[in-house]
Symmetry: D2
Subunit: 241 residues, 4 copies
Amino acid sequence: MTTPLRITVWNEFRHERSNPEVGRIYPDGIHEALAGPLREAGHAVRTATLDEPDHGLGGPVLDETDVLLWWGHKAHAEVEGATVDRIQARVLQGMGLIPLHSAHFSKIFKRLMGTSCDLKWREADERERLWVVAPGHPIVAGLPERIELEREEMYGEHFDIPAPDELVLVSWFQGGEVFRSGCCFRRGMGRIFYFRPGHETYPTYHEPLIQQVILNAVRWAAPVDAARPRRGNSEPLEPLG
Amino acid sequence: MTTPLRITVWNEFRHERSNPEVGRIYPDGIHEALAGPLREAGHAVRTATLDEPDHGLGGPVLDETDVLLWWGHKAHAEVEGATVDRIQARVLQGMGLIPLHSAHFSKIFKRLMGTSCDLKWREADERERLWVVAPGHPIVAGLPERIELEREEMYGEHFDIPAPDELVLVSWFQGGEVFRSGCCFRRGMGRIFYFRPGHETYPTYHEPLIQQVILNAVRWAAPVDAARPRRGNSEPLEPLG
Amino acid sequence: MTTPLRITVWNEFRHERSNPEVGRIYPDGIHEALAGPLREAGHAVRTATLDEPDHGLGGPVLDETDVLLWWGHKAHAEVEGATVDRIQARVLQGMGLIPLHSAHFSKIFKRLMGTSCDLKWREADERERLWVVAPGHPIVAGLPERIELEREEMYGEHFDIPAPDELVLVSWFQGGEVFRSGCCFRRGMGRIFYFRPGHETYPTYHEPLIQQVILNAVRWAAPVDAARPRRGNSEPLEPLG
Amino acid sequence: MTTPLRITVWNEFRHERSNPEVGRIYPDGIHEALAGPLREAGHAVRTATLDEPDHGLGGPVLDETDVLLWWGHKAHAEVEGATVDRIQARVLQGMGLIPLHSAHFSKIFKRLMGTSCDLKWREADERERLWVVAPGHPIVAGLPERIELEREEMYGEHFDIPAPDELVLVSWFQGGEVFRSGCCFRRGMGRIFYFRPGHETYPTYHEPLIQQVILNAVRWAAPVDAARPRRGNSEPLEPLG
């Protein structure tokens, strides 16, 4: 790999503590399951959770974050508006953001999309198969042409998002639906990768291929050392008149 | 033309009343200058302004609007959040939206884009030349390959918007800048066309070619009689297990 | 509807004459099955087939065509290069093109895409379900959120095309694959809509919802009365030096 | 930097030998001027020119090339069709391609675009200013918000290309035109970056900022170690019937 990145993995961290089934799959929380492979790859990884002060994102944390992963589900409403404002500002300045699964309904994802981000869903222990539709994309480097998950929650179209800047993965579900499961967006100087899988009652984030997608996505979403555009009132560069 | 559309032209309507120079150019307000050619084309046009109750958008107005034009500048902050919420909901349901010129900083445009929508600007009586970069697009039907405006305010890149779904016009400015001046976006079932020209101290909306772009854009942004997608919990369409 | 369009339906017209099963489904050829609903909608429809002189596209036919539908399968190689050149030129000038099903491998579609247009396939009498992923798009006006075809040939990803300018429909297949089945492209001043269904051994083009998509697509792909851009050596519009 | 890439710089290499003015600017040919900074950055760089056997691209050269730069102008017609076929195949397999300046009219670029790639032009020693319109893009890493070239050939819209997958740079010209000067395309598994500047009578490729764009573009266009999608007849992955 190349330069290590400063990654913050944010997790709601409620299901793991209230639902023993989830606690068995993710005994240290989804955030630790996500953080592990990123640490092994050499990145500098912090975690942050909803019930910490400032949701774990106070002080310099966001300023020191290159890429932020976000998993939330039942407590989106408890995330403070001021935190959402700060994350949005950081994305526009270049921080990468990777909303996972039910984070489609997070305040920050809806803020950055401008749409409802609504979809179909069903919890029925069914098979999901993610197909690569952009095989040369860095987010699917080293992956086979499809990923199979024996049991997952179904998400179905229409997914109310702006057309992705790049569509990388499309899911097939056993019950008859399809879904745009790997979607790239650019907002300001930041990059966003929405990645569908990861319902809390399945061991999805322990799957090596899923971990590989996330590793690739983190690298793809990392900030570029770009010159900041100047904005506001500007003198002419050419003679007028 | 085909079916008449129900159009609402919204205008801040402050500059015209406080600045005599603007009042001379637009004696009945920018909204009436915009409404005129749309009425002549056979559309059913209402106007609405900031200082009316509910900003003129109360009751059934928005529900009865196919396409909403929006001109605002110095009083964006006075537009009520509840109005912004209702406009956003209507766009996602299919209403067209045409933010004009300084409406790049309107609450509703920023809400739908998810970005800062910031840019460079300069008021220096300089020449603008809008080049068509998508010559087969319906929004430039019947137009020449460029539009010249002898005097306009400059807007320059970087314009902080998501990449447009379709880029139709790019402006050249005498002072040395360029700008993405005609930008199509789809959000939910609605269509948005941002159109740059129209600083209040110039007679831009009296220009026939500018009026033609707006007429075309209104037609392009009109709602399609689309089946509403179902969302939420969904039964399987295929046998599971 | 609005102005009638001049439509040419091109068909290879070989399977219908050599395979009795196909002949039973399309006794007058696939071209007549496609032409019927377009004629009923008021359009001026011609047909043209491979074995006619100049493939039925000689003389003024292409110049007098607003939108060209194309169905071909086993005889792509027999289409003359000069015909492909003329179709490409007409698309760049604004003629709409609707390649259907196995026309993904036609010379004209590959020419306009620049890629191999290869894909997975299987003939196994399986179910296809096309999901609308762009519900406000004019090509799906009046349609439900999905179309079901009880038996079709499977086409699976990766479909080697450039990313569509707009992705409208994604197919689910019973055997486990997905496919980008309704894809919009703009090339020059022309519009192209690739539409997947229509294997010759199934009565797909007799399905009213499939006919509705094609009717909508023809309207969407119709040429816009656009000013032709000037190209080549150009005098400056501003003083130099 | 990271892993060195295998780069081939292809140049027509005719102007430098026939026009003393060009020979003075590029005494070893445009290819050597382009190759120098890429070698200094640690890449493994070959050059190849039109008048070599197989245009310098025979044997294993293309198979051993990660990214191919292409400069051509007056002798596009002399490039053999078989060479164009082989380059196209390699791009679809993942090789990066960077067509420069007048290579907009090269056979390989037109083949991959499917359009005429025509444009306006003028040789009048005028000023060009390239504005960054995608400031977070890796191709503009480390660059200021604009690049100024005191004298260049003008290229003007409409540039007849498919809408770029990402638009990175837009040029302003002194004579009144604009141009999409930095355009990203994906075709198959390969990435293409068209970069406008570089008329042979100006020292454009000696400009450090232009060299930086090319260095960044080479890195961006490098192949990803992607699993090759399987195509053709495919067995079902799920039980049918």
